[in-house]
Structures are given as C-alpha cells and as structure tokens.
C-alpha cells in the first residue's frame, strides 16, 4: 500500500536551505510529530509537505504522486485529500464559525445543505464547540479558534491532516482537548496526522512516531521511547532539559 506521504531528498528554506536532503515516510493512520528548536525549519517543511512552499530540491510524493511536478489543475484534487490547520488559525473573520467549517463542503461537494449542516454540527461537537457555531471568530478565545480551525481542516475527512503548533500558547486543559481530537481523527476516522509541536505533554499524549530536526537535517527518528533514550544532544536537551 502506498504511503500517503513521502519525501525524497527534500531541501527547504528561503534564500539558502534550512533543512537538506530529507527522506521521510508517513504511514497510514499514524500521528507523526516533527520536533526541533525555533528556526529549525519544521514549519517550512510542513508547508512544503502540504503543497504551500515548493522545496529547493527533492520531491514530495503525496498519495504516490510527485506533488510539485503536477500542473495546478492536477494538484488540486490531491490537495483536497489533505487538511491543514494553521498556527494562526486562518479562519475567515467575516464568516461565522459554522460557515467557516462548511466552506470546503459547500465549495467542493454537491452535498445537500441538510447534510452539510449535520456534518458541521457533528464536527463542532467533536472539537468541543457545540452551540458556538453561529459566533464570529472574533468572539471566540484562542483555544476555541484553534479547535474551529481543526474542524474546518478535517471536515472533508481528509486522509492526511497537517497541524502547525495546534496547542501552542493554550492552557493544559484546552491543549488536552485538542490532543484528544487529534487522537480521535486517527482512531475513529483513520486519518494520518502530521503535527509540528513544542509541547511535551501534547507530544506524549498523541505521538506514534517523531522526527527530530537539527543541524539542517533529521538527527533522530522513531517512537517517543526510542527518542527519549537517544544520546543525540538536541534530542536529549529537548526531552530531558525540559523535564529537569
């Protein structure tokens, strides 16, 4: 079975590469966390995986297709099979939460409005925002907006979800709710999830496998147990300097 996402020799960056020669494969139904210090290129790499920032070199294979080799009209159907929850939520501020979440359904499917409304209601309940659908994004807290963004990213039941710092800056209770949602996406809906995160609690609650970026490349990869045993300095500092 083809991996939903794989990279081959990918380099990312702006003027010059931040990460070079990255080979990575995401398995069906796993939560993969990208770890690394600030400026290590995690978010840029995530954007490259999701078709938002072309790599400086190498290839990204999304559902077996070389993403950046495809013309835009062939790339769009592939991108409709993924969801992206941005760090800054990126909700449309002039639309209600319901309309934000329903937008992909209304734009990309021919579902009747009754099914669209029911799906939005179900997804709002799943992310813990039941009853808040008619509010505008400006009327929600930061944590609620992030959950709304996750609901929008997942409304088409994508096979792959990208989440950039979904729990950054949130209190532990709200963060735990988001972690739980990501786990439900994996367990109940069979999605693969790729997360960029700094939050150790969240990482422990969700991650199946993690990849550590440092020194312009991958310095460690494996399960959390494997990474916690690693003697690589960046990995050791990430897990142990924080716990100390």
């Amino acid at each position: 079975m083809t991996a939903p996402l794989a990279t081959k020799g990918v380099s990312v960056g702006y003027d010059k590469p931040i990460l070079e020669n990255i080979d990575l494969e995401v398995k069906q139904g796993e939560i993969l966390t990208l770890l690394g210090g600030s400026g290590s290129g995690k978010s840029t790499f995530l954007r490259t995986l999701a078709g938002l920032t072309p790599p400086l070199a190498g290839e990204v294979f999304l559902f077996g297709e070389s993403l950046y080799e495809l013309p835009p009209e062939q790339r769009a159907p592939l991108l409709q099979r993924i969801g992206f929850a941005f760090q800054q939520d990126a909700l449309f501020t002039s639309m209600s939460i319901e309309d934000n979440i329903a937008l992909p359904l209304r734009e990309l499917t021919k579902l009747p409005e009754s099914i669209v409304c029911e799906m939005v209601r179900m997804r709002l309940a799943l992310v813990g925002l039941e009853g808040l659908g008619r509010r505008m994004p400006s009327q929600l807290s930061g944590g609620q907006r992030k959950r709304a963004a996750l609901a929008r990213a997942s409304i088409l039941d994508p096979e792959l979800i990208f989440a950039d710092e979904p729990t950054a800056g949130l209190d532990p209770v709200v963060a735990a709710g988001i972690d739980e949602t990501l786990v439900k996406f994996r367990d109940a809906l069979g999605m693969s999830v790729i997360v960029v995160s700094h939050e150790l609690e969240s990482i422990r609650a969700t991650t199946d496998r993690a990849v550590m970026f440092a020194k312009g490349g991958i310095v460690a990869a494996g399960t959390l147990d494997e990474l916690e045993q690693s003697h690589e300095q960046a990995v050791f500092e990430f897990f142990h300097a924080r716990s100390a």
Partner: protein, 372 residues
C-alpha cells in the same frame, strides 16, 4: 417501495424495512443513501428501518451525517437500527453527538426597531467622533507645549505620501478644470461681447470654489481612504489595543501626525491647484481670444481680492480636517473582521465628500448673504 440507491437494496419484512448498504458511503456518494432514507421516512407503513452495513465499504462523516439525519427524520415513534458495523464504523458513529432539537430562529426585527438601532448607533458614533476630536486637540496641545512628542519622522513621512505624491494628479486635474471653465466661459461671455471677463471668471472660480473642492476630493480618495484602511487594519489586528495597553495614546501616536500632515498638505495643494487652474484658463484665453497672459493676469488680480483668497484657503483647512477626522474615526471603529475595514474605507470616502459639499454650501451661503 422507493427505488434503492445504486448498490443499495431494500428488503421488506412486515413493517420493517431492511436497507442493505453496499459500497462506500462517503462525501461523493452519501447523497444517494440520503435520498433512499428520505423516501423511506415518508412511508407511513414503515415503522422500523434497519441499516445493514455488512457489505458496506468506507464510511466517512458524510455517511454518519446521513444516518443521523435519518434518525431525526424518523422521529420518536419509529426506530432506526444499525447492524453489521465493524470496529471502525462503530467508532465513527460513536463520535456523532446526540440529535438536538431544532434551533429557535431569532425573532424577526421590526422596521421600527431597525430605525431605533440606527439612531442609537449614529448617536454613539457622533459621541465617539466628538471624543476623538477632543482627544486630538488635547494631544496636539500637549505636543505643542512639549509635554508629549510625536513619533520621530512621522509628520514628514505623511507630508510626502499625502502631499508630494499627490502633486501630479492634483496639478493635472486643476489644469484641466481651469481649461474647461475657460472654454465654457469664453463661449458664453463672447455672446455678450464680454470675453475679456474670462480671467475674472476663472480666477474667482478657482480661488473660491474649484481649487479647494478639487483638492479635497482628490485628498479624500487618496488620503482619507488610506487613513481609514490603515487604522481599520490596525484595529482589527489589535495593534491599537496594544498601544493602549502600553500606555501610549493611539490618538497621539496615530491620529495627530496624520492630521498635522493634512493641515499642511491640504492648503498647500489647494494653493497649487488654484494657480495651476488659472494657468489652464490663461492658456485657453490665449488660444481662443488671443488674450495675452499679462492682460489675463491683470483681470484675475483686479477681480480677486484678499478676502476671496482667504476664503479659499480657509475652506481648505476645514476640508483637510474633515478628511482626516472622517478617516481616523471610521477606521478606528472597524471591528472584528476584514470586511469591516472595507466598509470603514468606503464610508470614510462617502462621508468626507458629503460633509465637504455640505460645508462648502454653508460657506457659500454665509459669504453670499454676508456680502463677502
């Protein structure tokens, strides 16, 4: 019996209808099952619906939503049972929340209530404008008395963007306007053998009316809209709240520099517009009547007095402040979302032009009745 969806068969067992679902029930296909279930809901002889997923393929949120809608549609007296669910499908259904009662629609707002709301809103807006004007004057006084200072280089920067960058467009439009007035004047005045008075006409029109008005309209489109858009974006992005939280007056930091720049730029551009407009008229008089520039200028100077000039320049100050305050006030009242910035910008332009024309009419009435 209703026609089953492709890949779906319906088996009747007395008052029970068993729907055998085959294939995927996902976003692209869910509406077919939805249609089948809706048709069953309409049949009174069906008391129980059994959905058999034994041979079904993938099930996503759209499929779950269809089943949830069917549960709601069947009501309390009829039942819906799900059979043949594997672990994954079971988990997907467990995520679905219990059906809720239909939402109460908000009570319709009457016309009278809308009028009342509008009146209250306008009142609040006028109070906020008065507060902004007061606060601007207060902060400007603090700056003048050196108890506070403006951000370094801000006024100079705005003078360049609001004034220097507008010189070409204001100059061109004024020149064309002066020519147009002269063309019309020459034709009409020549009928009475009074073509020589075209200098009087162009001079008075440009100095008292068209110079200030043309400049104000260009400034409204360029500068007033920019002020509203900039401040509106800052308000939506919480930058204005950030200034307040830092203890920095947003009015001193954002509004006073723009108003100060406009106070210089408005009259300066108006002055330029007046003379370039007269030059346009002078060119037409020379071409149409063969009138020498010196003769034309003597007519202008002989007809236009210092009080006319003062009125024109005086109006330009008032117009500049209208543009500045309208832009700042409406920009700072933008709330919440990106569309409010667009609304604020549009309103700033409309309100400014409306107020400028009203104020101009008041000026004209007072000066004419007063014989000035």
């Amino acid at each position: 019996m209703p026609t089953p969806a492709p890949g779906t068969s319906i088996e009747r067992n007395g008052r029970q209808a068993i729907v055998h679902v085959r294939g995927d029930v996902v976003v692209g296909t869910a509406r077919k099952l939805h249609a089948t279930l809706r048709a069953l809901q309409r049949r009174r002889d069906v008391r129980e619906v059994v959905l058999d997923f034994t041979d079904a393929g993938r099930l996503d949120s759209a499929g779950v939503a269809v089943v949830q809608l069917a549960k709601k549609g069947l009501g309390r007296r009829r039942t819906l049972q799900l059979t043949g669910l594997d672990e994954r499908k079971q988990a997907a259904f467990e995520l679905a929340p219990a059906p809720t009662k239909a939402r109460k629609e908000p009570i319709a707002v009457t016309y009278l209530e809308r009028v009342g709301e509008k009146v209250l809103e306008t009142g609040a807006s006028l109070r906020a404008l008065a507060s902004l004007v007061g606060s601007t004057l207060h902060q400007a006084m603090k700056v003048l008395t050196r108890r506070a200072k403006l951000p370094a280089g801000s006024v100079g920067g705005f003078v360049v963007t609001m004034g220097a960058d507008a010189v070409f467009i204001v100059g061109l439009l004024s020149f064309l306007l002066g020519m147009t007035i002269a063309f019309q004047g020459v034709v009409q005045l020549n009928k009475f053998g009074a073509g020589v008075f075209v200098g009087d006409m162009v001079g008075m029109s440009m100095i008292r009316e068209f110079g200030p008005m043309m400049t104000a309209i260009v400034l409204t489109g360029r500068t007033g809209a920019a002020i509203a858009a900039e401040l509106g974006t800052m308000k939506v992005g919480a930058e204005i709240d950030a200034l307040t939280a830092m203890g920095v007056s947003p009015v001193r930091f954002l509004v006073v520099p723009r108003l100060t720049a406009l106070t210089f730029v408005g009259p300066a551009l108006t002055l330029m517009a007046m003379f370039i407009g007269i030059a346009g008229g002078m060119l037409v008089a020379a071409l149409q009547l063969g009138m020498r520039a010196g003769v034309f200028w003597d007519r202008v100077v002989g007809r236009v007095g210092l009080h006319d000039f003062t009125q024109g320049i005086g109006k330009s100050f008032v117009f500049a402040w209208i543009i500045g305050f309208a832009g700042a006030h409406l920009g700072m009242r933008a709330t919440g979302d990106a569309s409010s910035v667009g609304t604020a910008t549009t309103r700033a332009v409309v309100v400014s032009i409306f107020c400028i024309i009203v104020v101009d009419a008041i000026f004209a009435t007072i000066t004419t009745l007063g014989g000035w």
